[in-house]
Symmetry: C2
């Protein structure tokens, strides 16, 4: 009786809450991409801030697929003015993504607050790009289109009414008692009264990643020169110093496509004036043009905080937030007039005179220097929303300036977020752990951004070379000498090896450029986790790393997470890179199923197994899949010009027939958006130990930069 009375009482209590649960309606907004709306979404969100427009053609080409989850298992409830989201999670699933994490690839079991921030050494959601997007090993993806600090419980929160509850154990006596019981859902708290939810179909995790990037408009396509080598000079350099640096690269025979100017080109910085320093740069236009004549472009560092001493300050002040950053005004980038003034300043005497791009610093955090969450912006957008999108908007509107000139740019930025895949910027930070830099490179492929494991300074020649070797297999091959003043040849004992690596970067430009084209047109991240590679199965890893047979049924996600692989990655369609770290002389590499060959020698390395390699100091282990084709060009000190014909050496590995789509366009303009590009089909076959190669003909009316094509059989 008593119990019944309580039960009844509780029902009364529950009713009002249940009424708040939303029924989600899923609309297929693009093939294989579904959208649902919970509550009343905010008018300002990540996709709007990024100006993302889906690359419909690419999504259509992928075709459609089934909705990957049980729709009724996805719930949204508006409570306390916030949106609580819940997504189902199987015992055997692993999760990837949730932004640019530095220490972990597997995200199941994490609790994260997705918050644009300076990375502070902990994968807790505070990072330079906390994309609210995750991918499951089961082959689907989820994106939350909110510019808020989203709290994520990635398989940690256990419900009382769970249909697959964890085992109840007695800690008093049960030695196997777990402090973190199994949880069957991903819970999220979006601090807003509504939000747009996107689900991406598979069947593979890669398909979901591709659909996410294509929904963003596709990945960015840098100019060819962006894939060359760049040197960021020490702060306070002057025009003469930059010229001397450029000449040194040429004289010593190191490739160089663009030079970055760090603090010092402006008359004052922190806060910034955005005006050239007259003493260090008496004639900026002549300086920039003289460098361009040497095929060297200039990239300018800045942060966006406007000094009261800047001539633009009086115009900007009405559009500034209540709070400053290093005493600089924070411009409300959501106000068109404010953008006219601010980006007009970044254009004037900079982009106008031939500057190739910007490095946009300190749009990330941390709290101790960025604007506080109590800052008020004139548009009424909250400090939180601005914090989550400032980096996105900086990228977007600078890119638009270049788009107006039909000139591609490629720069650096310290913060991005969901929606930003198309923006041609590479993320960097002040952190410098080589292992974690590689983990970030792996995770960048899940976050819809690019990341560079930049080389700054090193304690030893070995460290210098090891960092350089992985850096050339990344989106931006760069030395950032802003503080150290280092050069590629800073360590004479490895200067020659560094040069060989820089040359290799240039030789591989046709490959890199084609892979970025696939990032743009197909959404395939050029640098990504092994977990996205067919035939790479964690269960394989488990078997090959442990003697005891692994039973993933009995021992699910704990085991999976124990086998996290974060020291090797895929670079484009055909290449597996296994960096070496200071002190290492040998390392293990896990090869996916199928034959893999040594990139340098063409020799068979293994097939779906863990191998141990001892590559020596001169190079790092790189492997090519069976039938893999790597189009190479001759060593050049600068990227080819728009109309310059370049001979191609097609390197072919293994035994299977090989096919490759070689991308071609002018390499500098946005004309590819109007279809002014081509993919040339390369086919190679091995018949009686001899290879025959073929490339489809150039298409009339499209740019054609491909000269003589030769074929090289790497595997004897």
């Amino acid at each position: 009786m008593k119990f019944l009375k309580y039960a009844f009482f509780s029902l009364v209590l529950f009713v009002p809450l249940n009424l708040q649960a939303q029924k989600l309606t899923w609309a297929e907004v693009e093939p294989g991409v579904w959208k649902a709306v919970a509550g009343k979404p905010e008018t300002f969100d990540l996709l709007k801030a990024a100006g993302a427009i889906p690359y419909h053609t690419g999504l259509v080409e992928m075709g459609t697929t089934d909705f990957p989850l049980t729709k009724t298992a996805i719930t949204a409830t508006i409570v306390d003015g916030k949106t609580y989201l819940r997504f189902p999670l199987d015992k055997s699933e692993q999760l990837y993504g949730f932004g640019l994490n530095f220490k972990t690839v597997h995200q199941r079991g994490k609790i994260l607050t997705l918050h644009v921030d300076n990375y502070a050494g902990k994968d807790d959601g505070h990072t330079h790009c906390p994309t609210p997007f995750y991918v499951s090993s089961k082959g689907y993806g989820v994106f939350i289109n909110s510019a808020r600090y989203i709290k994520v419980y990635a398989g940690t929160a256990v419900r009382l009414d769970s249909k697959t509850p964890p085992e109840i154990q007695d800690r008093n006596t049960d030695k196997n008692w777990k402090s973190h019981p199994y949880a069957d859902a991903v819970d999220m708290l979006v601090p807003a009264e509504g939000v747009e939810i996107y689900v991406f179909g598979g069947p593979t995790a890669m398909d979901a990643v591709r659909r996410y990037n294509l929904l963003n408009g596709g990945g960015c396509l840098p100019p060819r020169w962006g894939l060359g080598f760049t040197q960021r000079m020490q702060r306070l350099t002057d025009a003469a110093g930059a010229a001397v640096e450029a000449k040194a690269f040429e004289d010593k025979g190191y490739p160089l496509d663009f030079i970055g100017l760090e603090p010092g080109w402006q008359s004052k910085s922190y806060p910034c004036t955005f005006e050239w320093d007259k003493a260090r740069f008496p004639d900026p236009e002549k300086f920039v043009q003289d460098m361009l004549k040497k095929d060297i472009r200039i990239n300018l560092w800045t942060n966006p905080y406007v000094s009261p001493e800047a001539s633009v300050f009086p115009l900007i002040k009405p559009y500034a937030a209540t709070h400053t950053v290093w005493n600089g005004a924070v411009v409300d980038l959501t106000i068109p007039k404010a953008r006219d003034i601010f980006f007009g300043e970044l254009k004037k005497n900079k982009i106008d005179i031939g500057v190739s791009g910007y490095k946009m610093d300190e749009v990330d955090g941390g709290d101790t220097y960025l604007w506080p969450d109590v800052a008020v912006f004139p548009s009424g957008h909250s400090a939180e929303q601005m914090r989550q999108t400032y980096g996105l908007m900086m990228q977007r509107y600078i890119t638009e300036l270049y788009h107006q000139r039909n000139q591609r740019t490629y720069g650096l930025v310290r913060a991005s977020n969901g929606g930003g895949s198309l923006l041609p910027y590479v993320i960097y930070n002040d952190y410098y752990d080589h292992h974690d830099f590689i983990t970030a490179l792996i995770n960048s492929g899940f976050a819809g951004v690019l990341w560079t494991p930049e080389v700054r300074a090193s304690k030893t020649a070995e460290e210098w070379l090891r960092r350089f070797q992985s850096n050339i297999f990344s989106p931006m091959a760069m030395i950032n000498a802003w503080a150290s003043g280092t050069k590629p040849w800073t360590f004479p004992e490895v200067a020659e090896q560094v040069k060989q690596m820089a040359n290799l970067r240039m030789q591989m430009m046709p490959y890199w450029y084609s892979e970025f084209a696939k990032y743009h047109f197909q959404g395939i991240p050029p640098f990504r986790a092994m977990d996205l590679e067919p035939g790479f199965k964690v269960v394989e890893v488990a078997k090959s790393t442990s003697n005891k047979k692994v039973n993933l049924e009995e021992n699910p996600y704990e085991d999976v997470s124990a086998k996290e692989i974060k020291d090797q990655y895929m670079a484009g369609e055909n290449i597996l890179v296994a960096p070496m770290f200071t002190g290492q002389t040998s390392r293990t590499v896990i090869l996916p199923k199928g034959k893999w060959y040594d990139f340098y020698t063409g020799k068979l390395a293994g097939d779906g197994q863990m191998i141990t390699v001892t590559p020596g100091l001169d190079k790092i282990p790189v492997f090519v899949k069976d039938g893999g084709i790597i189009p190479m060009m001759p060593v050049m000190l600068h990227a080819p010009k728009a109309d310059q014909k370049v001979d191609i050496e097609v390197r072919y590995y293994g035994e299977k027939p090989g096919a490759y789509r070689l991308y071609d366009d002018d390499g500098e303009t946005f004309n590819y958006e109007k279809g002014n590009y081509s993919f040339r089909e390369i086919k190679v076959e091995r018949i009686n130990g001899e290879i025959t190669g073929h490339i489809s003909g150039a298409i009339t009316g499209k740019p054609n930069t491909i000269g003589k094509v030769t074929y090289k059989m790497m595997t004897e």
Copy 2:
């Protein structure tokens, strides 16, 4: 022209925001305590959760004072559904409080998110008691009565329109460029559409702290036995084991007032059944009563998470949150019916049979095991609100059970918050850094809570003794052996010194008890920072610690914060304690202005200066102020009973005439609330090297436990 147009445009933009700025009206709700309401405060807040009722009499006795700030300089704005608060801050001000911090006493320059949590090694606001209360060195206090995660910028956020802006520097060339410019305000973000704000007048910081505690109802008054010694037994002990333990203390002559039973008294734990384990405790009532006959009380560990295997589970389930903690149901303590059931279970066969109190574990966090922020509670209170108040409510409602029996309790809890000063619980955690434990003890005096630097295990006899020595000068003298099974005599080489310290704790009971009475009736924290002691000036410290003369005008808060003192503290009205840490043989102590004397010898130690002391291993440096009186009782193994007369030795230090208010009541009931107590006035004077002492007579009708009073001149 153009500029004017922009300016006008911006005005248009600003207007709607300015309209949201609240005009705060300050009402003096108690003498020297002002309250303002911003926006629409929530119906559930910290003071309501704690059930705090101001101790009006104590506040009246303090008298009133001026409003300590410029009212117009305090602003509240409702933006984005949140309340932005701003309080003025002078250059020379230092800030204290913001809850139970473990590493820092000075809070200026901090950014904190006040969030009930397990302390994870960083003073970022995540702690066991994140009281939204701060005190300024200028002599005022501010309390935000919100059960939300409040973000605090304690002098870090710089406004564009600041009237005292920081200097603008050029990082390019200015070597003195600061990454953290001076900020002239405390900004707070309260994630709610309104909040109650309290301001506490001075003129001293201590006055503000006292008013805060008195607004909470005054500090807690433990039973006398609570100030004796307590031993928490190893988990899985049984009734016989507890009896053996008690006898060992008696045989060896170590004082013991209560024993704590850790996991194992319940049939199952994590999740908990709240039912005695029949094997280990076949007859709980007989066990508890037998122990009481030996003057030893029983305290029971538990966490509040209800096992599905608990008999009370079916009754509780309707009132449980959607999510579990270690598979245990989380009861919605804001629902009266739920409380009837849950606390009824804690009462039944526990409090009913003489159990003296509870140790309420794991009501703090961390996120990886507590309920998620997306948990829904049947009452509709948010998971956030429940997280901020669960510890408060556990303390409150258990105390009410004892109040109904007119029996005082004294227990342990892992989480508290603003409003909790009156609740008779001491906070503890799993952290174990001795230095940081002392810093927490210092900060507890700003947070309106008690903290014990409990002794658990030690690597060496020295560490064991050093921890024990500071522990007996704390709110709860305790060994927590739940995991280690340690005893006071675990290290034979220091067993005798440990016994002497335990005996000293007992001898000082009249002093401790009187000081807790002052905590209750006057709001004076019994354990607190030097910064609250008259004559203790950081500028003094600066002068005595640095050769160069310090100019606080030129070099304000940076210098102040550099001189943070966190390794010595005040224990009651007259005592300064300077703990020794493992490895230390000597240390410096900063004595406030006025003469200070060695507690053990009565010898003059110094006057407003820094001294270096080498106390040896047997004791830690303790000093008594000039004219200081310490009432002592004979060594006893258990606290005196309610009606037991105890002789008092009045120890007198120094030269000045001494006065002390000795508190007396029955020591066990709540009758003091009905005025059934007395403060006996002790006066001691030194005339021609001889001292004369006098104590005011007992008041008829009030409890009188004071036997023969003798006077001892400590200083020759």
